[in-house]
């Protein structure tokens, strides 16, 4: 048991804080810190800068740009990045397809894709969910049929986040309709400029365009774009879901949001009931942050700590609760859109769309019902 960071980790943390503020443009960071909208260009600029500084993909193997850090160091990297207002490297690239390629792809495929994946020269989209396969992912129907060496893909993916910027998409497709549903799935990489790929925006209730439908109509995909073996897709999907669990609590981001709320609505802290609400949320966030640290410390080189499944569940609950507090602090000013001419503060006008947008947090990426199912089933044996 030791409370403080070691001198080495303390120095590491300091180094990260300095690195982030020096390599990523101030304009990008200010936009993030003020809760503004991050453009495609900002994402690309930021990740390229991180990659140039060698800190875009620290968790990858060292030969592909990784750093061989401890779990705690990776956590500190992530938290300091959040604190500095640096957009996290695109998760589709660095946490999803990157690790899948490293684990499952041929050497040739790795060499072809990994560098551009790390630098965001390829912007990856995720093609997993379908209209009738949400939480029940294995029920997917998009088909890939052999045509010589190529595959012909038909079907529809949905909830493709930021798909409008995507250069390539990694998809789960049904390559064998005859077997048990999990057994007939493969992973294909598809160039989104291929004929027959169409991205259609889905407008969300906050007014933003963040997710998309991606339609495939007789899309021809070269055979070499198959990841690993045919019908190995479900293994990769499970690998990804296992990967996703650690470190997904957006603690630093929620802390930043709450800290900023205290600053912009400082006058309302005179009210004891508001103060109590803030203090309660801060305490819950602290408990989550400490749990993250406990999980991180335990995860080095072994199985993830069972408590890691708590992180997403609780993290999204608190993200939603803090965003709800911010709307309440904004009050009637929350009705005015952020992009209109107004005398009302921008933070207040952003509050309701952000609050509505975060309703997705407990749905996407494994809904909170799925998280509870995992806890009840895997951890509690129920």
């Amino acid at each position: 048991m030791r409370l403080s960071l070691s001198a080495e980790d303390q120095a590491f943390r300091q180094e990260m804080a300095e690195l982030f503020t020096s390599v990523v443009p101030a304009e990008v960071r200010r936009t993030v810190l003020e809760g503004g909208e991050i453009t495609e260009q900002m994402f690309r600029t930021s990740q390229r800068a991180l990659n140039d500084a060698g800190i875009a993909v620290p968790h990858w193997p060292q030969q592909w740009g990784g750093r061989g850090w401890t779990e705690l160091q990776r956590h500190l990297w992530h938290e300091e990045m959040q604190r500095a207002g640096v957009p996290t490297p695109l998760p589709f690239n660095v946490s999803m397809i990157g690790p899948v390629l490293i684990q499952f792809a041929s050497q040739e495929m790795k060499e072809r894709f990994l560098p551009a994946t790390a630098s965001l020269d390829i912007w990856w989209s995720q093609g997993f969910s379908e209209p009738d396969a949400g939480s029940d992912l294995a029920g997917l129907r998009t088909s890939a049929v052999r045509d010589g060496d190529d595959w012909i893909v038909n079907g529809q993916k949905t909830w493709t986040t930021l798909g409008q910027y995507g250069d390539w998409i990694f998809t789960l497709v049904r390559t064998d309709p005859a077997v048990k549903k999990q057994a007939g799935i493969s992973m294909l990489l598809i160039d989104m400029t291929s004929p027959g790929v169409e991205v259609r925006p889905i407008q969300l209730i906050d007014g933003g365009h963040e997710v998309n439908e991606v339609w495939f109509t007789d899309v021809r995909v070269p055979g070499e774009n198959l990841v690993g073996e045919v019908n190995q897709g479900w293994t990769m999907a499970k690998f990804l879901l296992g990967n996703e669990r650690v470190g997904v609590a957006p603690v630093a981001m929620v802390k930043r949001m709450l800290g900023r709320a205290k600053e912009v609505a400082a006058d309302q802290l005179d009210d004891p009931v508001v103060r109590a609400r803030v203090a309660e949320l801060e305490n819950e966030l602290l408990a989550l942050e400490l749990t993250t640290l406990r999980v991180v410390a335990h995860s080095d080189g072994g199985e993830p700590h069972p408590a890691s499944s708590v992180l997403k569940l609780r993290g999204t609950e608190l993200q939603q609760a803090v965003s709800e507090l911010v709307v309440d602090l904004a009050g009637p000013a929350s009705l005015v859109p952020p992009d209109s001419e107004s005398d009302l503060p921008l933070w207040a006008r952003r509050s309701a769309p952000v609050y509505l947008n975060y309703r997705k947090a407990s749905i996407y990426g494994g809904s909170n019902e799925i998280q509870r199912q995992i806890i009840a089933g895997t951890i509690l044996g129920l």
Binding site: I202, P332, K360
Partner: protein
Amino acid sequence: MDFTLDDEQIALREAVRGLLARRYGDFEERRRSVSSDLGHDPTLWKALAEMGALGLPFSEEDGGMGAGPVEVGLVAQEVGRVLAPEPYLAAVVLAGGVVASLGTDAQRAEVLGELSSGNLHLALAHAEPGRRWSDTASSVTATLVGDEWRISGVKEPVLHGDAGTLVVTAALPEGGTGAFLVAGESATTTTATAYDGTRVSRVVLDGARGVPLGEAGADATEGIAVALDRARITACHEALGAMEAALAATTGYLRSRKQFGVPLSTFQALTFRAADMYVAVELSTSMVWWATMVAAERDATATREAAARAALQVSRAGRLVGQEAIQLHGGIGMTAEYLVGNLKAHLTALDHLLGDGSHHLRSLAQGVAAYDALDPLA
């Protein structure tokens, strides 16, 4: 004590429900209406006027229907159910309410008659930047220049502020708050569409000429407060309609949507949450109708407290019902083209329009030591 509607009230509800269902039963139609130039459908507005719905709160002498809070509530509930973007709450209940509270006989007859017939677009410019749910005005001021009142300052947010006539509140030179009729064209108004589809405006007044509502120079705070409290209860009715629609959509979805090869209604963890939504809606129904009866039968003080109680209950319930409706739908609940997420958005907007739950709880908590227990039958 009686919570039942009489035949006339039932007929009114059915008529309004039918009209709105024909117009907005297909949610795509509502989206189209919101994104039209006006942000609502003038034909529908006219039809509501012809049905008498716009004149319900006003006396017959004033050109209204001489009905009351119960009938207004019925209409608002139907408006909320389909998220009709027509400015019923904004024009009739808020702006019209202030005129009914404060106007002279002549003003009421002129303004409310035209409003009831659907010919006049009226908006209340009351909220000011930097203030939360106050009964008074402060940064917008009225000055007497010769024998004319001149109004200056910024009002924001104003619901549907791009109206022909504005009811503007302003701080009076001798203290207190006055209310004035101001021609829409004498203000500089920018209007945008809020996240829930409502039109919200910023109204800049720079020496705009205002005609005092009622006695010139008299403090209108109480009259404004009365109108706001009635509007709070009406907003609760809109929320009730939206909650009922959200619950119905959710139970329908749980019955029909399949995951893992079975309907979602197979999953007890989900159906129990729908049950809790139902509980919240039923409790809200009781509270809102009670507050409506208080408004119809009791004085302004009793109505103020009842409005706060209903708003607190509906604030809590609306959050639960709206959030759970989206969560139980999953991704589809997040999309703009689907009803459920929009119901949640509108519930959120209603919640923050005239005072959220915490705001009302604060005022109720003040008085908690003054009595032993509440007795709604007293």
